[in-house]
């Protein structure tokens, strides 16, 4: 039956269509679609699994560390039970000390890898300095303790006589904790267990987040101020020359980050090229060399240079699409060049400014290398503090809390960026 016959002979009433082997067409189509869907999933599957295992899972695990709190629960189950009835005033009674003794004795019998006293000391030390030495000193002597245990513990270390330590044990004796976030927002628990602000001289992180935001904004503004003119310049010249001059933007983009950072160290340091030049032409005296590096200035200059291409490239691609005739029309209708630029041209570049601005801001807010190398003390950003807690102070819970806050901030910004321009429009080079 030819196709023409089939259409002509089609009955007015809807009848089921069949494929050659007799299955209903709808079913065959569904099966084929399902198979195509599965093929597509099978192609994406390997990478999806790879990213989930080696990227998403590690980050989720790190975020979990910011609330995970197993140390006290594992080490002192009996003590925590005995503390249940303690009202938080004064010292706990003898029963609690006896329970503590039992917990610590039991721990000595465990194989070395499973001992819980070491992690307990580290965990308590985050809340109260000297707690670690109290725990380790006590644990060395605990075998010889005799009743009454409260005196024995207080003889071993004075900290056992302080209600603060007991309040911490009771408060943090839960499998999950908020204390890392409390610390990451410059707060602490007072005696009644309320969250209050830390004394002024111990506030670090809120102002560090503030400084990170301020530096990132400054860098974003600088890249805009420098990027807009050259993007305009490049977009309004013949393609041939523009491609050639584009190299000036792309070469830094492709050059190693460490190379660019060390270039600024070479230029800006006290004995560097710029200071030598200024001294030699007599603008400044040898004693008054300008310190342009290892402070905020260094961070801003170097990062502006490093991130400038990320502003120029989106701006350029938007400006290329703006027809010249619009500005000409505005001028022929009597607008001054400035008005034509301000009212007609500039509004059309806003998508590019938004895209470049958010991109630069997102990158700079989580930047680590350049601030670490040229930032000194005043140019440090939040990433440097996260790295310090992971590598030096070993307070991983606090690092995780700070990291989670940073990550949430970046994801919100990225969501905004996506709303503005769409992730697909990211281009490189």
């Amino acid at each position: 039956m030819s196709q023409a016959d089939a259409t002509q002979a089609a009955p007015p009433k809807r009848e089921k269509l069949f494929t050659a082997d007799g299955t209903p067409l709808r079913k065959a189509l569904e099966r084929a679609n399902r198979r195509r869907k599965l093929t597509a999933l099978a192609l994406v599957g390997p990478l999806l699994a790879f990213i989930l295992i080696f990227f998403a899972f590690p980050i989720a695990q790190m975020m979990w560390r910011s609330v995970d709190n197993p140390q006290i629960v594992n080490a002192l189950p009996r003590t925590l039970q005995a503390l249940d009835t303690w009202d938080g005033q004064g010292l706990p009674n003898e029963a609690v000390f006896a329970a503590l003794h039992a917990d610590m004795i039991e721990d000595l019998d465990r194989p070395r890898r499973e001992q819980t006293i070491g992690p307990l000391g580290i965990r308590l030390n985050y809340e109260l300095s000297a707690a670690r030495s109290a725990i380790s000193r006590t644990s060395r002597a605990v075998q010889n303790f005799e009743a009454p245990y409260s005196d024995a513990f207080m003889d071993a270390h004075r900290l056992w006589g302080q209600p603060e330590l007991w309040r911490i044990i009771k408060r943090e004796g839960r499998p999950l904790t908020l204390s890392y976030y409390v610390a990451a927002t410059d707060r602490e628990y007072d005696e009644a267990g309320n969250i209050v602000k830390r004394p002024e001289n111990r506030q670090i992180y809120v102002s560090l987040f503030g400084r990170t935001l301020a530096l990132s904004l400054a860098i974003t503004f600088m890249t805009f101020a420098l990027g807009f003119p050259i993007a305009y310049f490049l977009a309004n010249m013949p393609m041939r020359y523009a491609n050639l001059l584009m190299i000036a933007v792309l070469l830094p983009f492709w050059t190693s980050l460490l190379v660019r950072t060390s270039a600024w160290i070479v230029l800006l340091q006290q004995q560097g090229v710029i200071n030598e030049l200024l001294v030699n032409i007599g603008l400044i005296s040898d004693a008054n060399r300008i310190s342009m590096i290892y402070n905020q200035t260094g961070t801003i200059i170097a990062m502006t240079h490093i991130l400038l291409p990320f502003m120029v490239l989106p701006l350029y691609s938007v400006m290329r699409t703006i027809p010249v005739s619009y500005t000409r029309a505005a001028k022929s209708l009597g607008a001054t060049p400035w008005t034509a630029f301000r009212r007609v041209y500039f509004p059309q570049t806003l998508p590019g400014i938004g895209a470049g601005g958010v991109l630069v801001f997102i990158i700079s807010i989580g930047y680590y290398i350049t601030p670490a190398l040229v930032g000194g003390q005043s140019g440090r950003m939040i990433s440097n503090e996260i790295a310090r807690h992971i590598q030096q102070s070993l307070n991983w819970g606090l690092a995780a809390a700070l990291g989670t806050m940073l990550l949430v901030g970046v994801l919100v910004l990225y969501w905004l960026y996506n709303r503005l321009v769409g992730a697909d429009s990211l281009k490189f080079g």
């Binding site: 192609l43 990478l47 790190m62 310049f233 190693s256 980050l257 989580g366 290398i369 970046v410």
Partner: protein, 283 residues
């Protein structure tokens, strides 16, 4: 470009002032990178031009920092590591990324937005957070401070670039070509290698280059995940800058600038080729 005749004096001043400003900004972009090249030939361990260099006296120049670089075992190891890790990571991310891009560009792909979001997340998450997460996870499965760990980490960071560049190439892809191949009796595999692959190759290669440069230039993850054995060139530069900064850094930097010029050229050529080829295929 001649100025239009109707330009007033103010217009002219503004026209030239604008050009001066633009060239000053181009100077700001290029000068720091280019200034290291002559300084790397300094005969003395300074980061400034000596009097001999300024008078072009041959005694002011030397290759001693390049000799230092080539004689040092740790630098040599870092070159091997950088290329080895970079190429291995590039192969992993190009293979996985190209497959995923082929899947993502199919119209019947479910949950496209969500999956795309997950796949490009390594590009968005701040490196310090990725590095910290990988440090804990890789330590717990005992692949921290191994080549395997660094390669896997770098492969994960490189895949978004492959996915994005290959997906972009596939946007302009004419699917009637593969249908024609199938119609003429080619198997799906044969269609892929004979028809699809040659057409998307420029995208795949530039994605691969991006993946390579991502690994080659990466330092934060290396700082956390790599041990002494796995130190790459950026890692050695990091210690060089932090501990004792010597002009050897400048010699390395000069070589790296040359490498980036070469890569930039390749990518530019590929882009042009890709545009030409897509111009040929009917849209």
């Amino acid at each position: 470009m001649a100025l239009p005749a109707y330009y007033t004096a103010k217009d002219k001043i503004w026209h030239y002032a604008f050009r001066v400003i633009c060239f000053a900004i181009f100077f700001f972009l290029l000068a720091p990178i280019l200034i290291m090249i002559p300084l790397s030939f300094n005969a003395l361990p300074y980061f400034t031009f000596t009097r001999e260099m300024l008078t072009l006296n041959p005694d002011g120049f030397s290759l001693r920092w390049y000799q230092d670089f080539l004689a040092s075992d740790s630098w040599k190891r870092s070159i091997r590591n950088s290329f080895g890790i970079g190429i291995a990571a590039m192969l992993v991310s190009t293979f996985l990324g190209t497959l995923a891009a082929l899947g993502l560009s199919r119209s019947e792909m479910p949950a496209k937005g969500l999956i795309m979001g997950i796949l490009i997340s390594p590009m968005i998450v701040p490196l310090i957070i990725s590095a910290a997460g990988m440090f804990f996870f890789f330590s717990s499965i005992n692949i921290a401070q191994t080549y395997l760990g660094v390669v896997l980490a770098h492969a994960a960071l490189g895949t978004p670039f492959v996915v994005i560049t290959v997906t972009a190439t596939l946007v302009g892809f004419d699917h009637s070509l593969t249908r024609a191949a199938a119609n003429l009796g080619a198997s799906p595999t044969r269609t892929f290698f004979k028809i699809t692959m040659p057409l998307i190759l420029p995208g795949v290669i530039s994605g691969a280059l991006f993946a390579f440069i991502t690994s080659f230039d990466e330092i934060v993850v290396v700082l956390f995940v790599a041990g002494v054995e796995q130190r790459t060139i950026p890692r050695e530069m990091w210690s060089g800058i932090r501990e004792d900064i010597s002009p050897t850094i400048l010699a390395v930097a000069t070589i790296l600038v040359m490498v980036s010029i070469a890569l930039l050229t390749v990518v530019e050529l590929l882009r042009r080729r890709g545009e030409r080829m897509r111009g040929l295929s009917p849209q």
